[in-house]
Structures are given as structure tokens and as C-alpha cells.
Amino acid sequence: MDFPDFSLDTSLLQKAKEPEPKITYDLLILGGGPAAMSAAVYAARKMINLAIITRDFGGQIRETSEVENWLGFQSINAKDLADSFEEHVSGFDIPVSLGASITEVKKEGDVFKVLTADTTIYSSRTLIIATGKRHRPLNVPGENELLGRGVAYCATCDAPFFKGKKVVVAGGGNSAFTTAVDLLKAGADVTLVNSIKGWQADESLQERIKQTGKVSLFDYHQIVKIEGKDSVEGVVVKNRENDKEKKLRANGVFIEIGLSPNNEPVKNLVETNDHGEIIVDCFCRTSVEGLFGAGDVTTVPHKQIVISAGEGAKAALSAYDYLINKSII
């Protein structure tokens, strides 16, 4: 007998199971990247009454194509890896507020209050913030106006659209050079513009790009403006040695000048370093009792999937110890 499709899309079911604002959870996990998902798995296995509040699942993994340093896989498709993480989490009975934008976290007595943009307030005894990082903007005229019309932040997602086009990449670190590699593979004509004096990318990456002879390099130049009417037509760069401006023709601008931690909901609550990263100790504890941090939003060095996943596990176990020691569970 040929049966029709009886396959299950657990994400559809998950949408129906929202956290309850009336409940004070033992743990709320904020975020949906590898740190948050790993924390959720560890906490669920400890039978902690928890919920997840996140805009989406996958985090920055969804912005890359292949992962070659996740143990057990010589190479794995990044989407498949993110999907497998999400599937693992959805195998537990965890309420998820998906699509939620978190605006503020407060602590009232021993209870954390998490406010979302739709004015819902969730409560919990402990909290793990694992909201990750996002691409830093240039903050120049034309950037917002032409976003998605030539201005891009994700080479993996958008490089194939620029075959045969002129593209300026802003940045001088590994991300900028990797983006240049992706764009060259896609058949784009690439120019790298670095606002800090001296390229910061690994020597091997720099050599790889320089050996192609196909990339124009503007060191110590600052992008001051992105021009275009309906789409990007060019950028204005300023030589920081002599302040002379020059116009470069371009159909696209990829911005790869680093990442900012998504710390806004807690920045008035916890201590952060000069980069805005939440300061955590080796137990993932922050400056606020009961509030734990994990992954790229924290000061933990080396932003890697495997490290974030490990940090998420640590944060969940630390939250569990805290709840036990406080006789809450």
C-alpha cells in the first residue's frame, strides 16, 4: 500500500506550545544558538521546569555553509547541523516562544522578569542568557537604505548573487578575507577596504588572497558613504593618511567588521567588558545571582560552535546546582 505523507514537522507542533506568562519557571533560556540549545538539552535532562525564548533556532550557524570542526564529522552542512540541534531540543517537552524579541530583563526579588516586544512578561528563578552576537554595522549613510539591495552581511547567504559584479568588502580580519574568498568563488570582482592600519587576518588567508592577484586592497581607508538609488552603485572611501576621498564603483558591499554581543536586554543588569560581552566565570556565573551566561554573548574566548555548546551545558548544570542549593527544586 502506498501511504500518503505521515511525516511530522515538530516545529509546527512547537509553535502551538508557548511558555505560560502565569508560570514562574525554574529556568528561562534566552537565545536559540548552539549555547542555548545545548543548555536546553542539559536542563531538560535534569528535569528542570524550563522554557526557551528566542527569535529563531540555529544562531550564527545558519550564516555559514559547511562546518569542518564539529567533532565526529569531517565536514557537515551547517544547516543540517543546526537542524539536528533543533530536532534534539524539540525532542524534549520544552515550551518555546519562537519569534520573540526580548526587550528587557529585570530582577524583582528572587525572580527574573523577561519582557518581550509584544509586552508579554515571562518569569523564572534562574536565567541563562545565550543570545549570541550580530554583525556590527558601519553606521554610514546608505547602509540601512540599501540593505538587501547590495548591502549584505552574510557571504554564505548572498555571495552567489554577485557573479560578475563588483563588490567591496569592508573589514580586514578573517571574516572579511573569508568573505573575499567566497565572493571570488562566486565570480565577483572584489575590493577589500580596511579602516584600521594593517590587515588583521591570519597570514595564510592574506597570502591566499594576495596570490590570486584578483583582489584590490585599500588598507587604512574608511568607507564614509554607500551610494545608489535603487541598489548599490558605489562607495566613497577616505584615505585616513591624507583624508582624500575616492569613489569606487560597486554593485555590492559586504560588511565584515566584527560582531556585537546581543546584550541589550541585560546591559543595565550585569557587568560587561569593554566590548559589551557579559563577564562570566568558569561556572558561567555572571555578576547577578541566578543569572548565567553562555556562548558568544559572554567573555568566553574563541567564539566557536563546540565551545558555545560546551558553555551552554556548563551554564545549565550551574543553574541546576543553584536551584538545588537554594532548595528551589
Binding site: 500500500m1 501511504f3 505523507d5 505521515f6 507542533l13 517537552d93
Partner: protein
């Protein structure tokens, strides 16, 4: 070959661990089963076997016409989800594709004795003072 893939069986079984109270699936077919009646019954046998909180009752639409009338079932294949009562959750045809998700979701809601609606919506619905017939028509594409 069964109706459900092994991977989906595992997913459903995992979700069914969250069933709080007993659920009964009432299915109407007939002795000379139509192909869609048979595939619905085989699927429900597999689904109900994934949790000891689910009981499957299979009835004959012709031989048990009075029972079908009592439940308001007027065509087959029919699948009704009962918690402590008949909530009126009836599927006609094969709950496949997207509707399979809805079927699993309805089983979970029946096990909770709660449709998961907000207090405001429940209060509004409580104002309905005469029977209302709700029917959702869906296509498989």
C-alpha cells in the same frame, strides 16, 4: 512497510511522553474497507501503539450506525479524538501531510483537557449560547 517512518515514530513517541491524561481515538470504517479507510486505520493503529495513554476504538460505520449517529459521524473514514468527553474534534478523510501534525497536536490537547487558548478567548467562547457547527475544509496541496 508501515504508515509511519521509524524516525517519525520516534518523534511522535517522544512527544507522546507529554500526554497527561488518557485519550481515546474513535475511528469509523466499515467491513469492506475503502482504501483510504484502511490506510487511516493502519496509521491510527501505529500512532495509538506509541503511548499507553492512547486507546484506539475501531467501529463499523454500517453495523454501528446508532453509535456513529450519537457521535455525529456521517461519513468515513472518520477519526474522532476524545479526552474525558467528545470535544467535537473529528477528522474526515486521511489526516496526512500537514493534518498529521494537527492530529498529533489534538491528541496532546485532549490529553491536557485544554486546547491551549488564552483566558480571554475562552471567556469569549463561553458566551456562545447555542450550538455552532464548525467545519474546516482542507486540500492535500
Amino acid at each position: 512497510m508501515g504508515a509511519l517512518k521509524e524516525k517519525d515514530k520516534e518523534k511522535v513517541a517522544s512527544i507522546f511522553k507529554g500526554i497527561e491524561k488518557d485519550v481515546t481515538i474513535v475511528m469509523f470504517t466499515q467491513e469492506m474497507e475503502c482504501p483510504r479507510c484502511e490506510m487511516t486505520r493502519l496509521m491510527l493503529e501505529e500512532v495509538s501503539g506509541l503511548s499507553d495513554k492512547i486507546t484506539l476504538e475501531v467501529h463499523d460505520f454500517v453495523a454501528e450506525a446508532d453509535l456513529a449517529k450519537k457521535y455525529g459521524i456521517d461519513k468515513i473514514p472518520a477519526t474522532a479524538i476524545f479526552g474525558d468527553k467528545d470535544y467535537g474534534i473529528h477528522f474526515y478523510g486521511v489526516p496526512a501531510g500537514y493534518e498529521f501534525n494537527v492530529l498529533i497536536e489534538d491528541i496532546m490537547d485532549a490529553g491536557k483537557r485544554n486546547p491551549g487558548l488564552s483566558e480571554e478567548v475562552m471567556a469569549e467562547l463561553a458566551k456562545v449560547d447555542k450550538p455552532v457547527h464548525l467545519q474546516v475544509l482542507i486540500s492535500p496541496t
